[in-house]
Symmetry: C2
């Protein structure tokens, strides 16, 4: 068991200086072709590979981006990390990972950790509970670019890539109206999430196309737990005007809601229909699938976020201040074929 070889070692074996070795390895133009060959040959024999840590250390760049997501076991985020890794590898960047588990404290801690690792940039989807954004101040002070992804904070002057779920929600409501539904409910997520407010906006705009008046009691929130969803469902089903269709926050909420509806002896797609926000492809194989899904394209979104960050990083060399990138991917309604 040995340590990885260094240029010093090569230099000693060849009785030349380390700088010559360094130059030879980099195909410096004013170097003796012979020494270059000798050096490169020995380097190959020793399996020499430059110690990136040392290089990064002196160059003060790590070619590593930090990625902080709430929970990697969620389909949406695992798709995202997959895309981020793909995109950054393509540009010779590495990915340093962290999960906030939707805790603000943990998020803060991870931000500090990746910063101490001197990442070049950060992609982050903020925790549900995050209200305070001070932990990003230091990043700003040190000029480490941050691209917010999907769950974006409501503050100015940031780069972000997010999905506009409003358009998809509008489409969903219109689609339901076209299919004869006149009492459309919304089973929404926590209202502090920007995307939940977008869902509400979309819901309202969708109704505007129709002489139907907006009834706020048709919008209820769940904390995303099964119990929360059941409570929300109970509330909706207690209404005088029971909804015949529901737009639900995501697939898991939809499944829980459908299960509850069935327990209440409602016929799915007859007494009540569902529209989901897509997380998982398997939703189409479920026993009582939603009739439509609002697709959010997590892979494309995350890929875009990575590209934005990498461009910021390359621009940084020319120390031109780039304007804030605010990129929105449009969500889109996908109508499912009915299973026989």
């Amino acid at each position: 068991m040995v340590n990885p070889p260094t240029i010093k070692e090569i230099a000693k074996k060849l009785n030349i200086s380390t700088s010559t070795v360094s130059r030879a390895l980099h195909d410096h133009h004013r170097i003796n072709i012979l020494t270059r060959i000798r050096v490169q040959k020995l380097a190959r024999e020793l399996d020499y590979e430059p110690n990136q840590k040392a290089i990064f250390f002196q160059k003060r760049r790590t070619f590593t981006i930090g990625v902080i997501l709430p929970d990697l076991s969620e389909f949406y985020f695992s798709t995202a990390i997959s895309a981020i890794e793909d995109a950054s590898t393509k540009h010779k960047y590495s990915v340093l990972l962290g999960q906030s588990h939707d805790s603000e404290a943990r998020e803060k801690h991870i931000v500090e950790c990746v910063m101490n690792q001197r990442i070049d940039g950060l992609i982050i989807s903020i925790a549900k509970s995050t209200k305070n954004y001070e932990h990003f101040d230091l990043l700003k002070r040190y000029g480490i670019p941050v691209v917010f992804f999907d769950r974006i904070p409501d503050i100015p002057d940031i780069h972000y890539v997010a999905c506009n779920v409003e358009t998809g929600t509008v489409q969903a409501v219109k689609f339901l109206l076209q299919n004869g539904h006149r009492t459309i409910g919304m089973l929404n997520g926590p209202e502090q999430l920007y995307s939940c407010r977008q869902r509400i906006e979309g819901y309202i705009k969708g109704l505007e196309s129709h002489p139907l008046k907006f009834d706020p009691s048709l919008i209820v929130s769940t904390d995303l737990t099964k119990e929360g969803t059941e409570n929300a469902m109970a509330e909706l089903l207690r209404l005088k005007r029971k909804p015949t269709a529901l737009v639900c926050f995501n697939d898991n909420v939809t499944l829980d809601a459908i299960q509850y509806a069935r327990k209440m002896k409602l016929k799915i797609n007859k007494d009540i229909s569902f529209v989901s926000f897509s997380n998982q492809p398997m939703i189409n194989h479920t026993a009582f699938p939603p009739i439509a899904t609002i697709e959010q394209f997590p892979y494309q979104q995350a890929q875009k976020a990575t590209e934005v960050l990498l461009e910021l990083l390359s621009r940084r060399d020319e120390n031109s201040t780039s304007p804030f990138k605010k990129i929105t991917v449009q969500s889109q309604l996908a109508i499912h074929k009915q299973q026989k």
Copy 2:
């Protein structure tokens, strides 16, 4: 926009040497309480945080582990990475990520990359196509511990944590026999995977409990694509003795297989029943779910792998050679309640 503060900066401002600053920050015992306080106060004011890269650089340890998995968007692996991140964060280790996308070449390249980043250790689930293990030789030579996870190579003297799918398969076959099935087929994955060979072993052992003779033509392989699965299914259904039950490689294969069976007008759970290897919880909500699932506990498995690696890393300091850890998690059959 400034650079992060360094001990040098603090030293200059306080007119003391950098080593004094360093000691003060580390609560060195033989340091003036006053200077210590002054240093720590200033450090706090400047938001000083040690540059881990510099520390790691000179300590020759990075407190970073590399993780290479085939595809992070697969449920099984996203659960794994989630567990690995959780466990390593707990021990102040960071995670450097890579996806092989089941390509041996890419896997090799990523191994080189993480090695050049001087990771302290590696957790890897090898690519389907990997036949050659030379890219791990360098890691061995440099004493970087590797823990193989789930997809383990068939070579001696390695650390690994894997799931024994044989036991679960035995249970599955016995369960099917108990339920009256007498022609049980297996829709297996690529045979070079160790776990596929385990499935076959389990299949054979399961049959041994019964005076039924083993018919090799009841075992077919798919390359995991939908088309491959359909071809495999066609082959099985062409047999004289058509299987009344199938043990399928994983959830996706199972879904494709079920879809194909339905297209062939077979009644699921009547003409033919399915047992799956679990990837996703949602499988229980599908329209025609398998009657049972062999659970592999990816979270626990990955957590264990991380703990093994971290222990190796801590042991390394006492340069005692640790024996090869070969840890096997038992898979387990979970029988699904029939949906009404």
